[in-house]
Amino acid sequence: MVKKTLIPIGPYHPLQEEPELFKLYCEGEIVKDIKWETGYNHRGIEKLSEKKTYDQSFFLVERICGICSTSHPFAFANAIEEIGNIEITNRAKYIRSIIGELERIHSHLLWVGLAGHFLGYNTVFMWAWKYREPVLDLFEMISGNRNSYAMFKVGGVRRDIENNKISQITPVLDLVKKKTDMLVGAVMDDPVLHARTKGVGVLTKQDIIDYAAVGPTARASGIDVDIRRDDPYAAYPLVNWKVITAEKGDVFAKAEVRLLEMYESISIIEQCLEGLKKEKEGDINVKVKDIPAGWGTGRAEAPRGEVFHYVLSDGSNSPARHKIRAPSYTNIATFKKSCIGQTISDATISLAAVDPCYCCTERMAVAYDSKTGDKILNGNELIALSAKKTQNIKNQF
Protein backbone atom coordinates (compact mmCIF):
# COMPACT_ATOMS: atom_id res chain seq x y z
CA MET A 1 0.00 0.00 0.00
CA VAL A 2 1.27 3.45 -0.82
CA LYS A 3 1.82 5.64 2.16
CA LYS A 4 -0.20 8.80 2.35
CA THR A 5 1.63 11.96 3.22
CA LEU A 6 -0.02 15.03 4.61
CA ILE A 7 1.38 18.32 3.41
CA PRO A 8 0.06 21.33 5.25
CA ILE A 9 0.21 24.72 3.52
CA GLY A 10 -0.34 27.57 5.93
CA PRO A 11 -1.97 28.96 7.94
CA TYR A 12 0.81 31.54 7.92
CA HIS A 13 2.68 30.92 4.76
CA PRO A 14 4.95 33.46 3.14
CA LEU A 15 3.39 32.91 -0.27
CA GLN A 16 -0.12 33.60 0.83
CA GLU A 17 -0.89 36.99 2.13
CA GLU A 18 -3.92 35.69 3.98
CA PRO A 19 -4.16 33.09 6.69
CA GLU A 20 -5.71 29.81 5.67
CA LEU A 21 -4.72 26.19 6.00
CA PHE A 22 -4.67 23.66 3.21
CA LYS A 23 -4.01 20.04 3.87
CA LEU A 24 -2.90 18.12 0.83
CA TYR A 25 -3.12 14.36 1.22
CA CYS A 26 -0.58 12.96 -1.19
CA GLU A 27 0.48 9.57 -2.43
CA GLY A 28 3.93 10.03 -3.78
CA GLU A 29 3.74 13.08 -5.99
CA ILE A 30 0.03 12.94 -6.61
CA VAL A 31 -2.52 14.86 -4.57
CA LYS A 32 -5.27 12.46 -3.52
CA ASP A 33 -7.40 14.63 -1.34
CA ILE A 34 -7.53 18.18 -0.15
CA LYS A 35 -8.99 19.79 2.90
CA TRP A 36 -8.98 23.41 3.81
CA GLU A 37 -9.58 25.14 7.05
CA THR A 38 -10.59 28.70 7.45
CA GLY A 39 -11.68 30.75 10.42
CA TYR A 40 -8.40 32.56 10.90
CA ASN A 41 -9.98 35.52 9.30
CA HIS A 42 -13.45 35.53 10.78
CA ARG A 43 -14.45 38.93 12.10
CA GLY A 44 -18.20 38.64 12.55
CA ILE A 45 -19.00 41.25 9.95
CA GLU A 46 -22.65 40.35 9.40
CA LYS A 47 -23.28 40.75 13.11
CA LEU A 48 -21.24 43.95 13.31
CA SER A 49 -23.23 45.39 10.47
CA GLU A 50 -26.42 45.13 12.52
CA LYS A 51 -24.88 47.40 15.13
CA LYS A 52 -24.08 50.10 12.65
CA THR A 53 -26.19 52.54 10.70
CA TYR A 54 -26.47 52.19 6.94
CA ASP A 55 -23.96 54.94 6.39
CA GLN A 56 -21.45 53.40 8.77
CA SER A 57 -21.98 49.95 7.33
CA PHE A 58 -20.51 51.07 4.03
CA PHE A 59 -17.15 51.49 5.70
CA LEU A 60 -17.53 48.08 7.22
CA VAL A 61 -18.49 46.17 4.08
CA GLU A 62 -15.64 47.88 2.32
CA ARG A 63 -13.34 46.20 4.79
CA ILE A 64 -14.67 42.71 4.15
CA CYS A 65 -12.02 42.41 1.53
CA GLY A 66 -9.30 44.81 0.63
CA ILE A 67 -9.05 43.85 -3.00
CA CYS A 68 -12.79 43.94 -3.68
CA SER A 69 -13.33 47.03 -1.64
CA THR A 70 -15.73 48.35 -4.25
CA SER A 71 -17.71 45.24 -5.05
CA HIS A 72 -19.09 44.77 -1.56
CA PRO A 73 -20.30 48.36 -1.14
CA PHE A 74 -21.62 48.09 -4.71
CA ALA A 75 -23.79 45.09 -3.89
CA PHE A 76 -24.77 46.57 -0.54
CA ALA A 77 -25.84 49.82 -2.19
CA ASN A 78 -27.80 47.87 -4.80
CA ALA A 79 -29.58 45.99 -2.03
CA ILE A 80 -30.50 49.10 -0.05
CA GLU A 81 -31.56 50.96 -3.15
CA GLU A 82 -33.81 48.05 -3.99
CA ILE A 83 -35.51 48.32 -0.58
CA GLY A 84 -35.98 52.06 -0.85
CA ASN A 85 -36.69 52.11 -4.59
CA ILE A 86 -33.99 54.71 -5.03
CA GLU A 87 -32.91 55.70 -8.51
CA ILE A 88 -29.48 57.32 -8.59
CA THR A 89 -28.30 59.96 -11.02
CA ASN A 90 -26.46 59.08 -14.20
CA ARG A 91 -23.32 60.79 -13.03
CA ALA A 92 -23.24 58.66 -9.89
CA LYS A 93 -23.80 55.58 -12.04
CA TYR A 94 -20.82 56.43 -14.23
CA ILE A 95 -18.60 57.12 -11.25
CA ARG A 96 -19.59 53.85 -9.63
CA SER A 97 -18.76 51.92 -12.76
CA ILE A 98 -15.45 53.69 -13.19
CA ILE A 99 -14.39 52.77 -9.67
CA GLY A 100 -15.62 49.21 -10.15
CA GLU A 101 -13.68 48.73 -13.34
CA LEU A 102 -10.50 50.36 -12.04
CA GLU A 103 -10.72 47.88 -9.23
CA ARG A 104 -11.06 45.02 -11.68
CA ILE A 105 -7.91 46.15 -13.45
CA HIS A 106 -5.85 46.37 -10.30
CA SER A 107 -7.20 43.09 -9.00
CA HIS A 108 -6.45 41.22 -12.23
CA LEU A 109 -2.95 42.70 -12.37
CA LEU A 110 -2.46 41.57 -8.81
CA TRP A 111 -3.59 38.09 -9.75
CA VAL A 112 -1.34 37.88 -12.80
CA GLY A 113 1.55 38.85 -10.57
CA LEU A 114 0.75 36.31 -7.90
CA ALA A 115 0.21 33.58 -10.48
CA GLY A 116 3.62 34.36 -11.94
CA HIS A 117 5.07 34.24 -8.45
CA PHE A 118 3.51 30.83 -7.81
CA LEU A 119 5.01 29.54 -11.02
CA GLY A 120 8.44 30.86 -10.13
CA TYR A 121 8.26 33.73 -12.61
CA ASN A 122 9.11 36.52 -10.28
CA THR A 123 9.66 38.89 -13.18
CA VAL A 124 5.98 38.70 -14.03
CA PHE A 125 5.18 39.33 -10.35
CA MET A 126 7.34 42.45 -10.24
CA TRP A 127 6.09 43.76 -13.58
CA ALA A 128 2.45 43.27 -12.87
CA TRP A 129 2.69 44.87 -9.45
CA LYS A 130 4.73 47.71 -10.80
CA TYR A 131 2.08 48.56 -13.37
CA ARG A 132 -0.61 48.19 -10.76
CA GLU A 133 0.81 51.23 -8.99
CA PRO A 134 -0.41 53.83 -11.53
CA VAL A 135 -3.94 52.46 -11.07
CA LEU A 136 -3.61 52.86 -7.31
CA ASP A 137 -2.37 56.40 -7.91
CA LEU A 138 -5.58 57.06 -9.81
CA PHE A 139 -7.54 55.82 -6.83
CA GLU A 140 -5.56 58.09 -4.59
CA MET A 141 -6.31 61.02 -6.85
CA ILE A 142 -10.02 60.25 -7.05
CA SER A 143 -10.76 59.13 -3.53
CA GLY A 144 -7.79 60.06 -1.38
CA ASN A 145 -6.77 56.53 -0.50
CA ARG A 146 -4.92 53.82 -2.39
CA ASN A 147 -7.27 51.11 -1.20
CA SER A 148 -10.59 51.30 0.64
CA TYR A 149 -11.98 54.20 -1.33
CA ALA A 150 -15.07 55.09 0.67
CA MET A 151 -16.80 56.27 -2.48
CA PHE A 152 -20.19 54.70 -2.00
CA LYS A 153 -23.24 55.81 -0.07
CA VAL A 154 -26.95 55.25 -0.26
CA GLY A 155 -28.25 57.25 -3.19
CA GLY A 156 -25.00 58.04 -4.92
CA VAL A 157 -21.30 58.51 -4.35
CA ARG A 158 -19.35 60.57 -1.87
CA ARG A 159 -16.92 62.28 -4.20
CA ASP A 160 -17.20 63.56 -7.69
CA ILE A 161 -14.72 63.00 -10.48
CA GLU A 162 -14.47 66.56 -11.75
CA ASN A 163 -14.29 67.04 -15.49
CA ASN A 164 -10.85 68.61 -15.28
CA LYS A 165 -9.50 65.41 -13.70
CA ILE A 166 -10.54 63.33 -16.69
CA SER A 167 -7.55 64.51 -18.68
CA GLN A 168 -5.30 63.09 -15.96
CA ILE A 169 -7.03 59.72 -15.99
CA THR A 170 -6.79 58.92 -19.67
CA PRO A 171 -2.95 58.88 -19.92
CA VAL A 172 -2.84 56.33 -17.10
CA LEU A 173 -5.36 54.17 -18.92
CA ASP A 174 -3.19 54.33 -22.04
CA LEU A 175 -0.19 53.30 -20.00
CA VAL A 176 -2.08 50.40 -18.46
CA LYS A 177 -3.23 49.33 -21.92
CA LYS A 178 0.33 49.36 -23.23
CA LYS A 179 1.62 47.40 -20.28
CA THR A 180 -1.23 44.92 -20.53
CA ASP A 181 -0.19 44.34 -24.14
CA MET A 182 3.26 43.56 -22.83
CA LEU A 183 1.98 41.21 -20.14
CA VAL A 184 -0.32 39.49 -22.59
CA GLY A 185 2.65 39.03 -24.88
CA ALA A 186 4.77 37.70 -22.05
CA VAL A 187 2.15 35.28 -20.80
CA MET A 188 0.49 34.14 -23.99
CA ASP A 189 3.67 33.56 -25.98
CA ASP A 190 5.92 32.02 -23.40
CA PRO A 191 6.37 28.31 -24.09
CA VAL A 192 7.32 27.57 -20.48
CA LEU A 193 4.18 29.20 -19.15
CA HIS A 194 2.17 27.27 -21.71
CA ALA A 195 3.69 24.05 -20.48
CA ARG A 196 3.02 24.92 -16.86
CA THR A 197 -0.55 26.13 -17.22
CA LYS A 198 -2.15 24.32 -20.15
CA GLY A 199 -4.15 21.28 -19.13
CA VAL A 200 -3.50 22.02 -15.46
CA GLY A 201 -6.34 22.38 -12.97
CA VAL A 202 -9.01 21.74 -15.58
CA LEU A 203 -12.61 22.44 -14.61
CA THR A 204 -15.21 21.22 -17.08
CA LYS A 205 -18.50 22.92 -17.75
CA GLN A 206 -20.26 20.31 -15.63
CA ASP A 207 -17.89 20.90 -12.70
CA ILE A 208 -18.69 24.57 -12.77
CA ILE A 209 -22.40 23.87 -12.74
CA ASP A 210 -22.03 21.28 -9.96
CA TYR A 211 -20.05 23.60 -7.74
CA ALA A 212 -21.93 26.75 -8.76
CA ALA A 213 -18.68 28.55 -9.47
CA VAL A 214 -18.88 32.12 -10.67
CA GLY A 215 -16.85 34.85 -12.29
CA PRO A 216 -13.73 34.32 -14.37
CA THR A 217 -13.50 30.77 -13.05
CA ALA A 218 -16.82 29.95 -14.71
CA ARG A 219 -16.17 32.04 -17.78
CA ALA A 220 -12.90 30.25 -18.43
CA SER A 221 -14.85 26.99 -18.70
CA GLY A 222 -17.25 28.32 -21.27
CA ILE A 223 -20.09 29.35 -18.95
CA ASP A 224 -21.24 32.72 -20.13
CA VAL A 225 -22.22 34.41 -16.89
CA ASP A 226 -21.64 37.98 -15.86
CA ILE A 227 -23.82 39.89 -13.44
CA ARG A 228 -22.95 43.16 -15.13
CA ARG A 229 -24.87 41.96 -18.18
CA ASP A 230 -27.36 39.49 -16.67
CA ASP A 231 -28.65 41.74 -13.92
CA PRO A 232 -27.66 45.20 -15.13
CA TYR A 233 -26.77 47.81 -12.57
CA ALA A 234 -24.96 51.15 -12.50
CA ALA A 235 -23.71 52.33 -15.88
CA TYR A 236 -23.11 48.94 -17.47
CA PRO A 237 -26.27 49.00 -19.61
CA LEU A 238 -25.24 52.45 -20.89
CA VAL A 239 -21.92 51.39 -22.39
CA ASN A 240 -20.76 48.87 -24.95
CA TRP A 241 -18.68 45.94 -23.83
CA LYS A 242 -18.63 42.20 -24.13
CA VAL A 243 -18.25 39.25 -21.81
CA ILE A 244 -15.02 37.36 -22.28
CA THR A 245 -15.18 33.60 -22.20
CA ALA A 246 -12.80 30.76 -22.94
CA GLU A 247 -13.46 27.08 -23.44
CA LYS A 248 -10.63 25.03 -22.00
CA GLY A 249 -11.16 25.57 -18.28
CA ASP A 250 -7.49 25.19 -17.38
CA VAL A 251 -5.23 27.69 -15.66
CA PHE A 252 -4.18 29.18 -18.97
CA ALA A 253 -7.79 29.85 -19.94
CA LYS A 254 -8.36 31.60 -16.63
CA ALA A 255 -5.33 33.79 -17.19
CA GLU A 256 -6.54 34.54 -20.71
CA VAL A 257 -10.00 35.54 -19.51
CA ARG A 258 -8.57 37.85 -16.88
CA LEU A 259 -6.06 39.50 -19.16
CA LEU A 260 -8.61 40.12 -21.90
CA GLU A 261 -11.12 41.38 -19.37
CA MET A 262 -8.71 44.15 -18.52
CA TYR A 263 -9.08 45.53 -22.05
CA GLU A 264 -12.84 45.49 -21.65
CA SER A 265 -12.53 47.31 -18.34
CA ILE A 266 -10.36 49.98 -19.91
CA SER A 267 -12.88 50.47 -22.69
CA ILE A 268 -15.76 50.67 -20.18
CA ILE A 269 -13.89 53.33 -18.21
CA GLU A 270 -13.19 55.34 -21.33
CA GLN A 271 -16.84 55.29 -22.32
CA CYS A 272 -17.90 56.21 -18.80
CA LEU A 273 -15.51 59.16 -18.82
CA GLU A 274 -17.11 60.30 -22.07
CA GLY A 275 -20.50 59.93 -20.41
CA LEU A 276 -19.35 61.94 -17.42
CA LYS A 277 -18.57 64.91 -19.61
CA LYS A 278 -22.22 65.10 -20.66
CA GLU A 279 -23.63 65.10 -17.13
CA LYS A 280 -23.82 68.08 -14.85
CA GLU A 281 -20.89 68.35 -12.47
CA GLY A 282 -21.63 67.75 -8.81
CA ASP A 283 -24.88 65.93 -9.52
CA ILE A 284 -23.84 62.82 -7.65
CA ASN A 285 -26.44 62.39 -4.96
CA VAL A 286 -30.12 61.94 -4.48
CA LYS A 287 -31.50 62.77 -1.10
CA VAL A 288 -32.64 59.73 0.83
CA LYS A 289 -35.01 60.33 3.71
CA ASP A 290 -35.35 56.90 5.24
CA ILE A 291 -35.22 53.25 4.35
CA PRO A 292 -38.66 51.61 4.61
CA ALA A 293 -39.17 48.19 6.16
CA GLY A 294 -38.66 45.32 3.73
CA TRP A 295 -35.86 43.38 2.20
CA GLY A 296 -33.68 43.71 -0.80
CA THR A 297 -30.94 41.83 -2.56
CA GLY A 298 -28.04 43.34 -4.37
CA ARG A 299 -25.63 41.71 -6.75
CA ALA A 300 -22.44 42.97 -8.26
CA GLU A 301 -19.75 41.44 -10.40
CA ALA A 302 -16.55 41.53 -8.38
CA PRO A 303 -13.24 40.76 -10.07
CA ARG A 304 -13.70 37.21 -8.80
CA GLY A 305 -17.38 36.73 -9.56
CA GLU A 306 -20.77 37.47 -8.17
CA VAL A 307 -21.08 39.24 -4.82
CA PHE A 308 -24.47 38.87 -3.21
CA HIS A 309 -25.85 40.93 -0.36
CA TYR A 310 -29.19 40.47 1.32
CA VAL A 311 -30.42 43.21 3.62
CA LEU A 312 -33.48 43.04 5.82
CA SER A 313 -34.72 46.38 7.03
CA ASP A 314 -37.14 46.97 9.88
CA GLY A 315 -37.55 50.63 9.08
CA SER A 316 -34.84 51.75 11.50
CA ASN A 317 -31.56 53.20 10.34
CA SER A 318 -29.54 50.02 10.62
CA PRO A 319 -29.97 46.65 8.93
CA ALA A 320 -31.91 44.05 10.91
CA ARG A 321 -30.16 41.27 9.08
CA HIS A 322 -27.35 41.40 6.61
CA LYS A 323 -26.25 38.34 4.68
CA ILE A 324 -23.20 38.33 2.48
CA ARG A 325 -22.03 35.79 -0.03
CA ALA A 326 -18.75 36.38 -1.74
CA PRO A 327 -17.62 34.70 -4.96
CA SER A 328 -14.76 32.77 -3.40
CA TYR A 329 -17.25 31.01 -1.20
CA THR A 330 -18.35 28.86 -4.09
CA ASN A 331 -15.17 29.04 -6.10
CA ILE A 332 -13.04 27.54 -3.35
CA ALA A 333 -15.06 24.33 -3.44
CA THR A 334 -13.83 23.66 -6.97
CA PHE A 335 -10.42 22.83 -5.50
CA LYS A 336 -11.84 19.38 -4.91
CA LYS A 337 -12.05 18.96 -8.66
CA SER A 338 -9.10 20.96 -9.91
CA CYS A 339 -6.38 19.79 -7.51
CA ILE A 340 -7.03 16.12 -7.02
CA GLY A 341 -4.94 13.99 -9.33
CA GLN A 342 -2.43 16.76 -9.95
CA THR A 343 1.17 16.68 -8.87
CA ILE A 344 2.05 18.72 -5.81
CA SER A 345 3.92 21.24 -7.89
CA ASP A 346 0.82 21.92 -9.97
CA ALA A 347 -1.46 22.08 -6.96
CA THR A 348 -0.40 25.57 -5.89
CA ILE A 349 -1.13 27.15 -9.25
CA SER A 350 -4.44 25.30 -9.46
CA LEU A 351 -5.29 26.74 -6.06
CA ALA A 352 -4.22 30.19 -7.11
CA ALA A 353 -6.05 30.01 -10.43
CA VAL A 354 -9.48 30.71 -9.00
CA ASP A 355 -8.00 33.74 -7.23
CA PRO A 356 -9.39 32.72 -3.89
CA CYS A 357 -10.01 35.43 -1.37
CA TYR A 358 -10.32 34.17 2.15
CA CYS A 359 -11.35 37.30 3.90
CA CYS A 360 -14.37 37.34 1.61
CA THR A 361 -15.19 33.77 2.41
CA GLU A 362 -15.04 33.95 6.17
CA ARG A 363 -18.70 34.35 6.78
CA MET A 364 -19.38 31.55 9.17
CA ALA A 365 -17.63 30.49 12.35
CA VAL A 366 -17.09 26.75 12.30
CA ALA A 367 -17.97 25.59 15.75
CA TYR A 368 -16.56 22.08 15.51
CA ASP A 369 -13.53 20.69 13.79
CA SER A 370 -15.05 17.85 11.77
CA LYS A 371 -12.08 15.53 12.12
CA THR A 372 -11.07 15.72 15.74
CA GLY A 373 -14.34 16.96 17.12
CA ASP A 374 -12.51 19.82 18.79
CA LYS A 375 -14.51 22.87 19.54
CA ILE A 376 -13.07 25.83 17.78
CA LEU A 377 -15.33 28.36 19.40
CA ASN A 378 -15.83 26.75 22.77
CA GLY A 379 -19.17 25.83 24.21
CA ASN A 380 -19.32 28.51 26.87
CA GLU A 381 -18.66 31.21 24.36
CA LEU A 382 -21.40 29.92 22.09
CA ILE A 383 -23.83 29.78 24.98
CA ALA A 384 -22.83 33.25 26.10
CA LEU A 385 -23.38 34.52 22.57
CA SER A 386 -26.76 32.91 22.40
CA ALA A 387 -27.72 34.28 25.83
CA LYS A 388 -26.66 37.74 24.75
CA LYS A 389 -28.82 37.53 21.68
CA THR A 390 -31.85 36.40 23.69
CA GLN A 391 -31.24 39.29 26.06
CA ASN A 392 -31.11 41.72 23.16
CA ILE A 393 -34.37 40.45 21.77
CA LYS A 394 -35.98 40.58 25.22
CA ASN A 395 -34.91 44.18 25.58
CA GLN A 396 -36.75 45.07 22.44
CA PHE A 397 -40.10 43.98 23.83
Binding site: P11, Y12, H13, P14, E17, E18, P19, G39, Y40, N41, H42, R43, G44, I45, K47, L48, K51, F59, L60, R63, I64, C65, G66, I67, S69, L110, F125, M126, W129, K130, E133, R146, N147, S148, C357, C359, E362, A365, I376, L377, E381, L385
Partner: protein, 158 residues
Protein backbone atom coordinates in the same frame (compact mmCIF):
# COMPACT_ATOMS: atom_id res chain seq x y z
CA UNK B 1 34.38 26.84 5.03
CA UNK B 2 36.04 30.01 3.93
CA UNK B 3 37.58 32.42 6.34
CA UNK B 4 34.94 35.06 7.20
CA UNK B 5 32.36 32.48 8.15
CA UNK B 6 34.65 30.80 10.61
CA UNK B 7 35.53 34.19 12.03
CA UNK B 8 31.89 34.92 12.70
CA UNK B 9 31.42 31.49 14.14
CA UNK B 10 33.90 32.48 16.72
CA UNK B 11 31.98 34.22 19.44
CA UNK B 12 35.14 35.80 20.79
CA UNK B 13 35.43 37.66 17.50
CA UNK B 14 31.92 39.04 17.87
CA UNK B 15 32.62 40.18 21.40
CA UNK B 16 35.77 41.85 20.15
CA UNK B 17 33.74 43.77 17.54
CA UNK B 18 31.17 44.72 20.13
CA UNK B 19 33.95 46.01 22.33
CA UNK B 20 35.75 48.13 19.76
CA UNK B 21 32.49 49.48 18.34
CA UNK B 22 31.19 49.99 21.84
CA UNK B 23 27.70 48.70 21.09
CA UNK B 24 25.51 46.18 22.83
CA UNK B 25 24.77 42.79 21.32
CA UNK B 26 21.20 43.76 20.49
CA UNK B 27 22.19 46.92 18.67
CA UNK B 28 24.78 44.98 16.73
CA UNK B 29 22.25 42.41 15.59
CA UNK B 30 19.66 44.97 14.63
CA UNK B 31 22.03 47.16 12.71
CA UNK B 32 21.59 45.70 9.24
CA UNK B 33 19.54 43.29 7.17
CA UNK B 34 16.48 42.81 9.29
CA UNK B 35 14.46 39.79 8.32
CA UNK B 36 10.74 40.17 8.51
CA UNK B 37 8.05 37.66 9.26
CA UNK B 38 4.52 38.60 8.35
CA UNK B 39 1.60 37.47 10.45
CA UNK B 40 -1.75 38.39 8.94
CA UNK B 41 -4.49 38.11 11.50
CA UNK B 42 -8.18 38.56 10.80
CA UNK B 43 -7.56 41.37 8.39
CA UNK B 44 -9.25 42.69 5.31
CA UNK B 45 -6.25 41.84 3.21
CA UNK B 46 -5.32 45.38 2.33
CA UNK B 47 -2.56 45.67 4.88
CA UNK B 48 -1.21 42.31 3.76
CA UNK B 49 -1.13 43.49 0.19
CA UNK B 50 0.52 46.77 1.08
CA UNK B 51 3.23 44.81 2.89
CA UNK B 52 3.79 42.71 -0.22
CA UNK B 53 3.72 45.93 -2.20
CA UNK B 54 6.77 47.10 -0.26
CA UNK B 55 8.74 44.37 -2.03
CA UNK B 56 7.83 45.47 -5.52
CA UNK B 57 9.89 47.77 -7.72
CA UNK B 58 8.41 51.08 -6.68
CA UNK B 59 9.17 50.67 -2.99
CA UNK B 60 11.77 47.91 -2.99
CA UNK B 61 12.20 47.05 0.65
CA UNK B 62 15.06 44.75 -0.18
CA UNK B 63 17.42 47.64 -0.79
CA UNK B 64 17.63 47.95 2.99
CA UNK B 65 18.69 44.34 3.18
CA UNK B 66 15.28 43.36 4.46
CA UNK B 67 13.67 40.15 3.41
CA UNK B 68 10.25 38.68 3.94
CA UNK B 69 10.94 35.18 5.16
CA UNK B 70 8.92 32.06 5.78
CA UNK B 71 9.96 31.00 9.25
CA UNK B 72 9.60 32.92 12.46
CA UNK B 73 12.75 31.24 13.73
CA UNK B 74 14.86 33.27 11.34
CA UNK B 75 13.08 36.55 11.90
CA UNK B 76 14.23 39.75 13.55
CA UNK B 77 10.96 41.58 13.08
CA UNK B 78 7.42 40.30 13.45
CA UNK B 79 4.90 42.29 11.44
CA UNK B 80 1.38 41.83 12.73
CA UNK B 81 -1.59 43.19 10.88
CA UNK B 82 -5.30 42.69 11.17
CA UNK B 83 -7.44 42.32 14.23
CA UNK B 84 -6.73 39.20 16.22
CA UNK B 85 -9.67 36.84 16.58
CA UNK B 86 -10.07 33.95 18.99
CA UNK B 87 -8.59 31.51 16.56
CA UNK B 88 -5.54 33.60 15.73
CA UNK B 89 -4.81 34.43 19.34
CA UNK B 90 -3.21 31.15 20.38
CA UNK B 91 -1.27 31.04 17.12
CA UNK B 92 0.12 34.50 17.62
CA UNK B 93 1.19 33.67 21.16
CA UNK B 94 2.81 30.48 19.94
CA UNK B 95 4.67 32.30 17.19
CA UNK B 96 5.89 34.88 19.64
CA UNK B 97 7.14 32.11 21.88
CA UNK B 98 9.01 30.45 19.03
CA UNK B 99 10.60 33.67 17.86
CA UNK B 100 14.26 34.16 18.68
CA UNK B 101 14.59 36.94 21.24
CA UNK B 102 15.09 39.82 21.02
CA UNK B 103 12.40 40.33 18.43
CA UNK B 104 10.83 43.57 17.33
CA UNK B 105 7.06 43.52 16.97
CA UNK B 106 5.41 45.99 14.62
CA UNK B 107 1.65 46.42 14.64
CA UNK B 108 0.44 47.51 11.21
CA UNK B 109 -2.79 49.26 10.38
CA UNK B 110 -5.69 50.45 12.45
CA UNK B 111 -6.61 46.83 13.09
CA UNK B 112 -3.19 45.91 14.36
CA UNK B 113 -2.95 48.98 16.58
CA UNK B 114 -6.39 48.96 18.17
CA UNK B 115 -8.66 46.46 16.47
CA UNK B 116 -10.03 49.19 14.26
CA UNK B 117 -13.46 48.72 12.85
CA UNK B 118 -13.56 45.09 13.97
CA UNK B 119 -12.92 45.81 17.64
CA UNK B 120 -16.61 45.49 18.43
CA UNK B 121 -16.86 42.12 16.72
CA UNK B 122 -17.92 39.02 18.57
CA UNK B 123 -14.78 37.08 17.77
CA UNK B 124 -12.32 39.83 18.58
CA UNK B 125 -9.66 38.71 21.04
CA UNK B 126 -7.90 41.94 21.81
CA UNK B 127 -5.51 44.22 19.97
CA UNK B 128 -1.99 42.98 19.43
CA UNK B 129 -0.47 44.94 22.29
CA UNK B 130 -2.76 43.25 24.83
CA UNK B 131 -1.29 39.90 23.80
CA UNK B 132 2.37 40.56 23.10
CA UNK B 133 4.64 43.58 23.62
CA UNK B 134 4.64 45.88 20.61
CA UNK B 135 7.60 48.09 19.67
CA UNK B 136 6.15 50.17 16.90
CA UNK B 137 2.74 51.11 15.64
CA UNK B 138 2.04 52.05 12.04
CA UNK B 139 -1.45 53.51 11.83
CA UNK B 140 -3.54 53.85 8.71
CA UNK B 141 -6.21 51.86 7.01
CA UNK B 142 -4.25 50.63 5.20
CA UNK B 143 -0.99 52.47 5.86
CA UNK B 144 0.72 53.46 2.65
CA UNK B 145 3.80 51.42 1.77
CA UNK B 146 5.82 54.57 2.38
CA UNK B 147 4.52 54.64 5.94
CA UNK B 148 5.40 51.01 6.48
CA UNK B 149 8.91 51.61 5.11
CA UNK B 150 9.33 54.73 7.21
CA UNK B 151 8.26 52.85 10.31
CA UNK B 152 10.65 49.99 9.79
CA UNK B 153 13.54 52.24 8.84
CA UNK B 154 12.91 54.29 11.97
CA UNK B 155 13.23 51.07 13.91
CA UNK B 156 16.54 50.38 12.20
CA UNK B 157 17.93 53.67 13.42
CA UNK B 158 16.57 53.32 16.92
Amino acid sequence: MDEPVSYYRNSAFIFWILKIKNVGFKEFCFKKSLWLFHFGGASCNNCDIEILDCLTPRYDLERFGMLLIGSIRHADVLLVNGSINQRDKSRLLELYEQAPKPIVVVAIGACGCTGGIFAEGDTFAGPVDKLIPVDAYIPGCPPKPEAILAGIVKLLNK
